[in-house]
């Protein structure tokens, strides 16, 4: 079938946080979010540009780059010991999610800190696409989150991804 002709909007998106439990990971769909997920995927390796009196004469591969991203959602609760639903608990490995398993504990790269996978699903079939679409960012460390009071009060999460990304779509 043809390549999709439908540009996607924030109504099509869904963010799911996934831990490393096996065989069934713990998942949390982020609710009451703004729909403002962004992630930057730089070239896999940075470049060392070598010049000879100003003229580029060679470019050498340097360090592997890091994927970064951010999204925000409306604050409903900080924590809940018994009920699922708190994004803050999920990223802090606290409350109802205190038993979460880090996705960085196995495989390469090994990551000492607690980290999670972040999956971004994009609706496709409802628009006539052959399949839905997704991007999974693996082994994400939450670098920081900020709480900004307002109408509504909003939580913004900043993360770095060390496990690479996987896209899915029509076969």
């Amino acid at each position: 079938m043809a390549y999709s002709v439908v540009p996607k909007t924030r109504r099509d998106g869904k963010i799911t946080l996934i831990d490393g439990a096996s065989p069934t990971p713990t998942e949390l769909e982020v609710a009451y979010e703004e729909g403002n997920l962004s992630f930057d995927i730089p070239d896999e390796y940075s470049s060392l540009v070598i010049r000879d009196r100003g003229d580029i004469c060679a470019v050498r591969t340097q360090d592997q780059n890091i994927i970064t991203g951010t999204f925000s959602f409306d604050l409903r609760q900080f924590t809940d010991a018994s009920e699922a639903g708190s994004v803050i608990d999920f990223i802090d490995k606290a409350g109802n999610y205190s038993g979460n398993i880090s996705t960085g504990a196995s495989g390469t790269p090994y990551i000492e800190q607690y980290c999670i996978d972040i999956k971004y699903d994009v609706e496709g079939t409802d628009h006539g696409d052959d399949a839905d679409h997704s991007a999974t960012l693996s082994k994400c460390i939450i670098d920081s989150y900020s709480v900004a009071e307002g109408d509504p009060t909003r939580v913004t999460i900043n993360f770095s991804c060390y496990g690479g990304y996987t896209y899915t779509g029509p076969a």
Binding site: R11, Y32, E33, G35, D74, P152
Partner: protein, 147 residues
């Protein structure tokens, strides 16, 4: 549990709060006609009007609903007593403060799934005949449409 709540329900809950203020009763006329013709005039008659609604961001997911923000106008009339016009105006001020306090008081069920914020007022504007004073209190409401 859905965050959505019908605006009709919110309107009725605001009405119930204003009815707790002594002497105030809801006008049976359309909100915009309050005070515009003789039949729609009465001391301490009020109406509640949501003139517009706008989306307030978010993904508008089924189950969550559509996040919306909208102004709410509470309008009420006070009679101008011919021999006590200043006292009559002060009645407007008292009524305005009492109604704001009744609505801003974070009571259940008014604040269930609803956020209400006082914004501004125009107080005691005389109608054309000079017999009535119209006060309009403006609130902003944030809630969700159910999807």
């Amino acid at each position: 549990m859905s965050a959505g709540l019908a605006r009709k329900t919110i309107r009725q809950r605001i009405r119930d709060q204003i009815l707790t203020v002594s002497g105030y009763t809801e006008s049976p006329f359309h909100p915009q006609s309050l005070g515009r013709n003789p039949k729609s005039r009465g001391d301490k008659k009020f109406s509640i009007f949501f003139p517009s609604t706008a989306e307030a961001g978010g993904r508008q997911k089924t189950g969550e609903g559509v996040k919306i923000t909208y102004p709410c106008e509470v309008r009420f009339l006070n009679v101008v007593q011919p021999h006590n016009p200043i006292t009559s105006y002060e009645n407007c001020l008292d009524g305005e403060e009492s109604i704001i306090a009744a609505i801003i008081n974070r009571t259940t069920p008014l604040y269930e799934k609803t956020q209400i914020r006082y914004e501004s007022s125009t107080t005691g504007e005389l109608t054309d005949t000079g017999e009535w004073q119209l006060t309009i209190i403006n609130f902003t409401i944030n809630s969700f449409f159910t999807l």
